[in-house]
Amino acid sequence: MRSLTDSVRKPWISTARREKLVHGLFFVCGIFSVIVLLGIFLLLIVTAVPAFEEISIKEFLFGLDWNPTSYEQETYGIVPMLVSTFMVTLGALAIAVPLGVGTAAYLSEVAHPRVREIAKPIVEILAGIPSVVIGFLGIVLVGPWIARVFGLPNGLTALNGAVLLAVMALPTIISISEDALKSVPDTYEQASLALGATSWQTIVRVKIPAALSGIIAACMLGMGRAVGETMTVLMATGCSPAMPESFLGPVRTLTSSIAIELGEVAYNTTHYYALFALGLVLFVITFIINLISDVILHRYEKAHR
């Protein structure tokens, strides 16, 4: 066995070469993910476009009925699914953002170090719970609870999906917000306290605004998770394709429609292409969310420079 010092003394490859090699390796990794992403995007477009040979774009974007396996007349309108997706996602954010940012502020500013040491890993473990388990909780626990509270015959509602997605988005929001709050320089806090501000004022008026870019990024990541989540909403929201009426009625999101129908669809039919068009719509939505968060972050960084 060669000792460590030996290998340092006689490198099997010159330092400059090694640098180059590592450089090349990282370049290949980086370019690979770009190629994969472009490939997915192209595949989506190529497979989605033939759908519009038989469906008019107007019907697809503004149609109020989605029923590609109809007994009488096939229809391909995505409006109810778009509305459903936004209802569930925004509902989840409305619950998860205040709760998540509050928890992050508590963990980073208020909590005793020992509490934080226990609580933070627990929150992060929450991220590892499979979505099918969360969906099951939605059926047996959250759904019946919602039904009881609101006097509904059943709990398969948009609200159920929103609560469950909030639980799934929380670990991301808490963990990243907490890191952002931690990275605010201590001098900010010290200056604020020295000026006579209370701890509450320091957290709300100084630290959270200073960490806002990170907190917004956290919320956007949480939103991304909520938009794309499939299994949980599939199990917990009833999935009736009708136009949603309220948060206390069933909804069917873009993701659950794809999951329900892709398994049985015959390849290279209009229905098959239409499902990829749904995927494209989902892709565009996540792209826009990321773009908006990017713009917000840049503006914010400029203002604070």
Binding site: N154, A242, A266
Partner: protein, 291 residues
């Protein structure tokens, strides 16, 4: 970490596919959610009696099983509906022939919550309810309360069969699309306004719900899917055969398993699981198919 996992998956995939193709004695069965418990039970008993034989049974819905059969991803497809001509043509296009075997009979059961006073409906009423034409229980002799519909998703053979034989039209867009028979049973148990449809094998031991008696036409006799005679004689109007489809040459392994399913021992298991033995009409069909 992710990369390592990818490699493991890739390795598993590469090593698995040729083995699966060359694996003698291994039968892949895929499809109907209505049939899955029954076929799994049949496979278990069969494997106990035939060491060295392996049968893998998975669900996903009749549509999923038939799609897998078309794509050559399984040996036998369980289907609670018949294959559409389009689907048979797709198998034929790949140069294979489709064989159909009926392994059991099902009295497709319409269920409501145990607290619902309604205990019988006609076919027309059931159809109107699921089409969304009747939306309140008071219109079918029940209390004043809205009806909540529980049905399957479009990959389900039961979804298609029920639509084509009972509704003869489209489902209400407001129907909740549940992921399997068991979910419908659970939902109807909890929802006193609910109505759903499931294979009879799922209601035999279920509590908290009621199986409706159905008449084929107004003024006709109401028949009960739990009553063996009503289903066997076809008096119960939503009786259907439960099928298995085999694509291409029937391998000796598949033939042996199907013969076991149709044997008196196999048919006894069918009844234990809450379904009914193959009727004389479909026995004749099986014989014509060579079983």
């Amino acid at each position: 970490m992710k990369k390592a996992m990818m490699f493991v998956l890739l390795a598993a995939f590469l090593s698995w596919s040729p083995v699966a193709r060359a694996g003698r004695g291994m039968i892949q069965i895929k499809g109907s959610d209505t049939l899955i418990n029954l076929v799994q039970r049949l496979a278990e008993v069969y494997m106990e009696g035939h060491p060295g034989k392996y049968i893998a049974v998975t669900g996903g819905g009749s549509g999923t099983g038939i799609a897998a059969l078309i794509n050559g991803k399984c040996d036998i497809a369980d289907a609670s509906r018949v294959m559409k001509p389009k689907e048979e043509a797709r198998v034929a296009k790949s140069g294979r022939q489709v064989h159909r075997v009926v392994i059991a009979m099902d009295g497709l059961s319409v269920i409501v919550n145990a607290a619902n006073p309604v205990d019988r409906l006609t076919m027309d009423q059931v159809g109107a309810i699921f089409r969304g034409d009747i939306t309140n229980w008071k219109d079918v002799g029940g209390p004043e309360m809205p009806i909540t519909l529980y049905g399957r998703q479009s990959n389900s053979g039961t979804f298609i069969f029920f639509r084509d034989t009972v509704l003869k039209g489209d489902y209400s867009q407001k129907m909740n699309r549940m992921n399997g028979n068991a979910q419908i049973v659970e939902s109807v148990k909890k929802d006193r306004t609910g109505i759903g449809y499931v294979g009879v094998g799922y209601v035999k031991e279920a509590t908290g719900l009621k199986v409706l008696k159905i008449a084929s036409h107004p003024g006709g006799n109401y028949a009960d899917p739990l009553n063996k005679e009503d289903v066997e004689k076809g008096i119960y109007p939503i009786t259907r055969p439960l099928n298995q489809y085999i694509g291409g040459q029937v391998s000796p392994e598949a033939r042996a398993f199907i013969e076991f399913e149709l044997s008196p021992k196999g048919q006894a298991i069918v009844q234990q699981e809450g379904f009914f033995p193959v009727s004389a009409e479909y026995k004749a069909l099986n014989r014509r198919a060579g079983f």
